[in-house]
Symmetry: C2
Subunit: 147 residues, 2 copies
């Protein structure tokens, strides 16, 4: 039996799954990944730590400790962070490694699958930052013409 090429597999996947269809499992997956904490975690795990300097994150993905993630994603609750990380681990997007130090060091790292989504999430986060001014201007105009 001939093996399908990656392009053929993708073409078939696009026939099999369609997120426009309510009952399609990919609709639920899309809902799952359409979440600001998922976006921020996946963007963070691929970052090289230079985001605060305004440079593009050109570095390779690196493992991050739970405490680092918690600090970087300002405002996330412990419960939300833990739940989101577990769900990303379950979906195969990140791996969790516990090192038996005292206390235990827990690190998270992107898998190859997670890396493929990281690129999209990084672009989504950058889109929000780069177009914020434009969106604010549009909102003012809209609110003036729709009193």
């Amino acid at each position: 039996m001939a093996t399908m090429t990656a392009a053929q597999k993708k073409a078939q996947a696009k026939v099999e799954y369609d997120a426009f269809i309510a009952a399609c499992p990919s609709r639920k997956l899309l809902d799952r990944i359409s979440d600001k904490w998922v976006t921020l975690i996946l963007a963070a795990l691929g970052s090289d730590g230079s985001h605060r300097t305004g440079e593009h994150c050109a570095g390779s993905p690196r493992p991050m400790r739970y405490s680092e993630l918690s600090r970087l994603l300002a405002g996330v609750s412990q419960k939300m962070l833990t739940q989101t990380l577990r769900s990303l681990e379950r979906d195969g997007l990140i791996t969790r490694t516990a090192t038996p130090t005292v206390p235990v060091t827990v690190t998270y790292e992107l898998t190859d699958l997670g890396l493929s989504l990281h690129h999209l999430m990084r672009d989504l986060k950058a889109w929000a930052e780069e177009n914020m001014d434009d969106v604010l201007t549009h909102r003012e105009t809209y609110d003036t013409s729709h009193p």
Copy 2:
């Protein structure tokens, strides 16, 4: 005064806005666009209608009627669709045009700003469809090892 290039403006925006910071307006914008209905609407408005054949959406963005969107986005409530469309219009991502037919024909179309986000949303939807099988396999493995 020298005009900034697009690259310089983008660099400055990245310094000014950082969605990792809880109080940054871009965090709220990221939250707003991290929504499955936003993703599906923006993906739909740029589609050439060939999505059901499994072909890539290579066509140019086209206006869509409210009723078309409602049919394509199976399972969306009228209230949710109306609210999301209004919010996208307010943010400057789509335009709404009412043509005085009987009954009135209302169409929605991507703006240039919306088109820039459409590309990301189409890729996000495609990612969910193309990696659904992989994610399902990972979930089974995870559930077996975490009883």
